[in-house]
């Protein structure tokens, strides 16, 4: 039986958000979408409440998709079941560090 509840916002999202407290590596997440479909995935790392997991393998440079939209890009290869956050994905917007400032 799945111990962890995770929500996928839109069909082609490649991440889901975990809404269970004290989630540890090795636990099974029950990923639900808004249409009531479910599938299970084993977690490769601890995940804090409200944080994201990868639903499939995501290569470095590929987009992270949530709400059906790009929320950033993978900064390293991410495996299905991995914890996804600022350690392995980058924002693509507001990046004055990449474009150089004028002030």
């Amino acid at each position: 039986m799945a111990e962890v509840f995770a929500l996928k916002a839109i069909d082609h999202d490649n991440v889901a958000t975990v809404f269970t407290n004290d989630v540890k590596a090795g636990m099974i997440a029950n990923v639900a979408d808004k249409k009531g479909h479910h599938f299970e995935i084993q977690l490769l790392s601890d995940v804090p409440y409200g944080h994201k997991i990868a639903l499939c393998d995501i290569k470095k440079g590929e987009e992270i998709i949530k709400y059906g939209e790009a929320i950033g890009a993978a900064s390293k290869d991410i495996a299905a079941g991995d914890y996804v956050h600022i350690h392995n994905m980058d924002s693509q917007r507001g990046r004055g560090d990449l474009e150089g400032g004028t002030v």
Binding site: L7, A9, T17, F19, N21, P48, Y49, G50, H51, K52, I64, K66, Y67, E69, A70, I71, G72, V84, H85, I86, M89, D90, S91, Q92, R93, G94, R95, G96, D97, E99, G100, G101, T102, V103
Partner: protein
């Protein structure tokens, strides 16, 4: 079904849901006198801010315009302007344009009166008379279409975009359908979702409103990028990141849920009052509380509905702020500061529509006079005017 509320009809036709004397400092240097008067007289609110002098002319105009719009708030029955006497704000225009609403407006000048204690004495006498004068005003039955609601999310986490912002979106859609006015802002938090908003603009993505949405986002992002570093920690904040939001794009896509689904009628500049605007509008504001709360009170919004995940407690002096918490853990810890628990959506206990109806019911009670959590404890000092240029 028709809805009504009981509000204070003002001479210019706006309808207030509170009936305060507003003590408005024209410049930061007058804030202490304004606060002293406010403490002394019942039924007053004041707006201690940090602007109005040694700024570039466009910002001085922006400060004057914002204070004018604030003075026009329907929740203020009378206004006392407190001036130092040498500021950059156009105090005469402030006095004249707020007076044009028909409400009782007076002005005192600290330097002219011979200093702080004289100004406090004179201001206290004026404010006391104003408080007595407006205190007998009766509420009148008013159609729901006279509502002007402002919306915001703050101290967000990943529950905001899935629960509490969706509840606000439900209320926003319902109010727009009833002929009311809804204003949302936080232009920084359109970054990554601006195309979704532009497609909802009246006239489409390529029309003037759609293009204006792209323009304000480019300007806001441009100001951040001009500093030459990564925007993260500024936006999203460390608290947002601790709450699971990994990027501004993710934060934005959750944030714009609170705008609901109706067409966007236009974009208001930061100092603008929303007189005559019906339906869903954008106001070009940053996301930080002091500046957006002030900017939204200056639209003429009677109240704000404010979503949080990490737990943001603040309100605003003349604009009740209804707090909706999307995170069930935070709600349990901070329920004294929260008006409504949308964490039940995450827990699967209630639907967005059910919590949306509870939020609408709370709104109706607040319109009729019921206090919000932050209003009851006067958690009020998140006040400032958003300026664009340097302090010089």
């Amino acid at each position: 079904m028709g809805y009504t509320f009981n509000g204070y009809r003002r001479p210019d036709g706006q309808v207030g849901i509170r009936n305060y004397v507003g003590i408005i400092p024209s410049v930061t240097c007058a804030s202490d006198v304004a606060s002293a008067i406010c403490r002394q007289v019942q039924g007053c609110v004041t707006f201690p801010h940090h602007q109005g002098c040694c700024q570039m002319p466009p910002d001085l105009e922006r400060v004057t315009d914002t204070l004018i719009s604030l003075g026009k708030s329907p929740n203020l029955g009378a206004v006392l302007i407190v001036s130092l006497g040498c500021e950059g704000t156009d105090v005469e225009r402030l006095y004249k344009e707020v007076s044009a609403t028909g409400k009782h407006v007076e002005i005192i000048r600290i330097q002219e009166l011979g200093g702080v204690s004289n100004a406090i004495q004179k201001g206290t006498d004026i404010a006391r008379n104003m408080a007595i004068e407006i205190s007998g005003l009766q509420r009148e039955e008013t159609d729901i279409s006279e509502v002007v609601m402002s919306i915001k999310c703050g101290a967000s986490d990943t529950t905001s975009g899935i629960a509490s912002n969706c509840v606000i979106g439900y209320v926003a859609d319902k109010l727009v359908d009833l002929g009311a006015t809804v204003i949302f802002g936080e232009t920084t938090e359109f970054i990554g979702g601006e195309h979704l908003l532009a497609r909802r603009a009246v006239g489409g993505e390529n029309g003037p409103v759609g293009q204006k949405i792209y323009q304000i986002v480019n300007e806001m992002e441009g100001r951040a990028k001009a500093i030459g570093c990564d925007m993260r920690k500024g936006q999203p904040t460390p608290g947002n990141i601790a709450g699971g939001l990994s990027s501004i794009e993710e934060k934005s896509l959750g944030a714009i849920m609170k705008s609901g689904s109706r067409p966007i009628q236009g974009v208001l500049e930061y100092p603008q009052h929303a007189a005559g605007c019906k339906g869903l509008w954008i106001k070009d504001t940053p996301g930080r509380e002091p500046e957006i709360l002030t900017g939204m009170a200056a639209t003429g919004a009677q109240f704000m509905i404010f979503s949080t995940g990490r737990g943001a407690p603040q309100g605003f002096p003349c604009m009740p702020v209804i707090k909706i918490c999307g995170n069930p853990n935070t709600y349990e810890r901070m329920k004294n500061d929260m008006d409504l628990n949308a964490g039940v959506i995450i827990e699967g206990k209630n639907s967005i529509n059910e919590v949306g109806e509870a939020a609408f019911a709370k709104m109706l009670r607040v319109l009729n006079g019921e206090m919000t959590r932050n209003e009851a404890i006067q958690y009020f000092t998140s006040i400032d005017i958003h300026c664009l240029g340097p302090v010089i």
